[in-house]
């Protein structure tokens, strides 16, 4: 007792709290987490994603077969001795490709999504906050990128530079930021006219402070959802580019596996289907989490 209430001030405040019975207000993050946990699909997605992360980040240390090595007869079906997932047209181990190739796929997805969010958020927030000619100019630029056929544009970028994990991530980021920009702009437009922003301005806060510390945290929930979905989109994009032959052949990735084996789909379904399933599961997991986040941060859905 005496230790806990070493100062008389603390003792007093504790007594005060106990006296007036403050209504318990949950921390918003904790509330969101509780809402998220109530969403079975989202939790399933989270577990799935953790599983995939374990598979791609931890399992490679235990399953050390080089995914480029020729380990067995080409096009051996799954279940063949030593190669549970079969081999591709060169005799490369599909399981090794799955285990070692996930890292590049997730890295491209993650990096592209981060790039998309950075560009999108910068453009959208400035346009939404300042309005006027800044908004006009930035939105025209956004529209320019919006009307470009995204896959084609990404192909041009990758073809201009040589295909590598970095260029593919860059290309995907550059073509997919517009949705984030639009969303960020609308959020900033909405929030900047709210009372607490006006108050912040009236007490002389700088623009930078208002953008970073007042509006951005409040605009974050929908943007987080958008960013999560962007990861899934970017992974699909990577697979699409790889399918068209624009993958780095020196880095194993799920997209590369699909792209390089696509001609063998008719004869060796496993070469394309197995990496396809893993891409599907990853994108599904990310989407479920994104949905869960959306529900969890949307106050209107709270009573559901």
């Amino acid at each position: 007792m005496s230790e806990q209430h070493s100062s008389p001030n603390q003792a007093a405040s504790a007594a005060f709290e106990a006296e007036i019975q403050m209504p318990s207000i949950e921390h918003p993050l904790r509330e969101a987490a509780r809402m998220f946990a109530r969403n079975k699909a989202a939790v399933g997605g989270l577990i799935l994603l953790i599983g995939i992360l374990l598979l791609t980040l931890v399992v490679p240390f235990f399953y050390t077969v080089d995914p480029f090595d020729l380990v067995w007869a080409p096009l051996s079906p799954p279940g063949t001795e030593n190669v549970p997932f079969g081999t591709d047209y060169l005799g490369r181990d599909i399981l090794a490709g799955i285990v070692h190739g996930g890292r590049a796929t997730l890295a491209v997805g993650g990096a592209a999504a981060i790039l998309a969010v950075i560009i999108g958020l910068s453009v959208g927030s400035l346009a939404g906050y300042y309005g006027g000619w800044v908004d006009e100019v930035l939105m025209r630029i956004t529209e320019f990128f919006q009307v470009l056929p995204t896959l084609l544009f990404a192909m041009v970028i990758v073809a201009l530079f040589k295909p590598s994990v970095a260029t593919v991530a860059f290309a995907i980021g550059v073509v997919s930021w517009t949705a984030v920009a639009r969303l960020a702009r609308s959020e900033f437009l909405r929030i900047r006219s709210l009372d607490y922003v006006k108050s912040a301005r009236s007490i002389g806060s700088s623009n930078r402070r208002i953008i970073w510390l007042v509006i951005l945290p409040n605009a974050m929930p929908p943007l987080m959802v958008q960013a999560t979905l962007a990861v899934g989109g970017a992974i699909l994009f990577e697979a699409g580019l790889s399918f068209l032959g624009l993958a780095d052949p020196n880095v194993m990735s799920w997209g590369f596996m699909i792209g390089s084996s696509r001609d063998y789909l008719m004869d060796a379904w496993w070469t394309v289907t197995i990496p396809g399933i893993f891409i599907f599961l990853t994108v599904l997991a990310v989407s479920l989490i994104g949905d869960g986040l959306n529900d969890a941060t949307n106050p209107k859905l709270r009573e559901r």
């Binding site: 480029f68 020729l70 040589k162 052949p249 001609d263």
Partner: protein, 534 residues
């Protein structure tokens, strides 16, 4: 001349008999029948049809139907009369006299004269990408309308082959001799006038080429009324078209997946008994200006590490053949009496150890880039083998980085400007070493900026001397001797390491088609003997 006229009427008689048999309904399967349409799976995407000034299979196949040539080849590289009925090579090899078929006419009714032949051969010499074909041709004399004399700067053993379809074409002077740039002549794609077995009825790029029977053809045949070269789109659709009988024939196919699937169909015959003169030699080219690759021991070590059997059997399902040198098997000058580099990883490692290329901490000696020609149709020959080199050469401590070119110009820019270490490539033999082989190895053909020149920077004065001799030697056996020596040296020096020969296949519906040409040129040959069974 009298003789050829008799032959001519004779063939007409045969055709008449065949026709009568068909009418009577008693035609034996072996007797060619008149009529019907042959549908061929094709890309239908030639630059144009004028085979006198344009190379490439897309032009050559329809070109050989539209334009007759002086001679034609059979399946054994033997020359036969076509527009020329007989010919004589002078003893010194410096002139060739050919007599032209009398009464032969172009599609528009004009007689084919020696002036047309002279005009065509000169156009070919001055414009065709295969410069070596007619480079020694100095003058074409026309003593009479039915005789030409070709005057040569030097004996030219490849000449007779160059006079056959699809390497040359006799084009009408009255159409193409109007002073316009012949390579861009409007009549190369429209109102094409030749003298071949078929005339152009319709051409819609990437959709179809429709050829109709030339009723005034100067030889026997053709039996078909029509040839439709149809673009069926994706490979899957092409396969279905063949399986369902919508198409009668697929030609120039080398995809092992496609061929393996079509082979399962009872009605379809899959054959590669022809095309031997084309000779697509799929190889790894080394840049001899690159530090490690300038060392012949490194090239030999790579040769010992690459398994041709794996490529042809496992990777290509047996639908391609191992290549052992610059000249492809099945052609007259080929020899396999050379070092064959049967796969031997221990030996390869030892060569590199002995040469002083020690392994680093990661087990690697050095890094080499490999490029490949980006073309979906030959991915299993180019892309797949480039990818195969990565794990395979890792076994001998060479770290291979595959460099992707998104399109042909990108790849071509790397290679022709010598900005490469190793590249997959597939130059064609084109029937005679003078045309398709010499270019890669002659030291005077080291030309920066020119694709398919001696981009390897290989210079060996002994090879230069042998090729110079072989290029003017008319005696078959002596010439064979020169090329045997040449192939031996090349197998030792390895400026390129030949992996396999792409085997082009023809697939045809054996219930619907007969008389598929078994020439060394495949279907880039007049299709005047092919006929429909029903």
């Amino acid at each position: 001349m009298q003789k050829s006229r008799i032959l001519f009427s004779g063939t007409k008689l045969v055709a008449a008999v065949a026709l009568a048999g068909a009418v009577a309904g008693t035609a034996h399967a072996a007797d060619p029948k008149r009529g019907g349409t042959l549908t061929i799976v094709d890309t239908a995407n030639p630059r144009h049809f004028n085979a006198a000034v344009q190379s490439g299979v897309a032009t050559m196949v329809p070109g050989a139907q539209l334009f007759a040539t002086l001679l034609r080849l059979d399946g054994q590289f033997k020359t036969h009369p076509y527009l020329a009925t007989d010919w004589k090579i002078a003893d010194d090899g410096l002139s060739v006299t050919l007599n032209l078929r009398k009464g032969a006419k172009f599609h528009d009714g004009h007689d084919i004269t020696s002036a047309d032949v002279a005009f065509s051969l000169k156009a070919n010499r001055d414009n065709h990408p295969f410069k070596a074909m007619f480079a020694p041709l100095q003058e074409v004399e026309t003593p009479t309308p039915n005789q030409v004399v070709l005057r040569l700067k030097q004996p030219h053993p490849a000449l007779m082959l160059a006079l056959t379809a699809p390497l040359s074409a006799i084009i009408p002077k009255h159409v193409y001799g109007d002073g316009q740039n012949i390579k861009k002549h409007p009549r190369n794609t429209k109102d094409v006038v030749g003298s071949g077995p078929f005339r152009l009825a319709a051409f819609k790029r990437r959709e179809h080429i429709i050829l109709e029977r030339n009723d005034n053809y100067f030889m026997e045949g053709p039996y078909l009324d029509k040839i439709v070269m149809q673009n069926f789109g994706q490979v899957a659709s092409q396969i279905i078209a063949m399986e369902q009988g919508k198409a009668d024939m697929m030609h120039w196919s080398s995809s092992s997946r496609t061929l393996a699937r079509l082979k399962k169909s009872k009605n379809l015959t899959v054959t590669s008994d022809h095309y031997v003169a084309i000779g697509p030699n799929n190889w790894i080219a080394f840049n001899l200006k690159q530090k490690q690759l300038s060392d012949v021991r490194v090239r030999q070590a790579i040769a010992y590490a690459v398994d041709r059997n794996f490529v042809t059997k496992a990777l290509h399902g047996g639908f391609s053949k191992p290549s052992t040198g610059p000249i492809v098997p099945g052609t007259p000058y080929y020899t396999d009496a050379v070092e064959l580099y049967d796969v031997d990883l221990a030996k390869a490692n030892k060569i590199l150890d002995d040469a002083g290329y020690g392994k680093g901490g990661d087990g690697m000696r050095f890094t080499l880039k490999v490029d490949y020609l980006p073309a979906a149709a030959i991915d299993e020959n180019q892309k797949a083998i480039a990818e195969y080199l990565k794990p395979q050469l890792k076994k001998i401590g060479i770290n291979v980085v595959v460099r992707v070119s998104p399109d042909f110009p990108t790849w071509s820019n790397y290679v022709r400007n010598w900005d490469f270490d190793m590249t997959m490539d597939v130059p064609f033999n084109w029937g005679d070493p003078v045309i398709g082989v010499h270019r890669t190895y002659l030291s005077n053909n080291i030309k920066k900026g020119v694709i398919w020149s001696n981009t390897q920077n290989y210079a060996n004065s002994e090879v230069d001397a042998i090729l110079a001799k072989a290029g003017v030697e008319l005696d078959l056996d002596k010439r064979k001797g020169h090329y045997a020596k040449f192939q031996k040296i090349l197998a030792r020096d390895l400026p390129v390491y030949p992996v396999n020969v792409i085997a082009y296949h023809t697939v045809f519906n054996n219930k619907a088609v007969s008389g598929v040409p078994d020439t060394v040129w495949g279907t880039a040959h007049p299709l005047d003997r092919i006929y429909k069974l029903k």
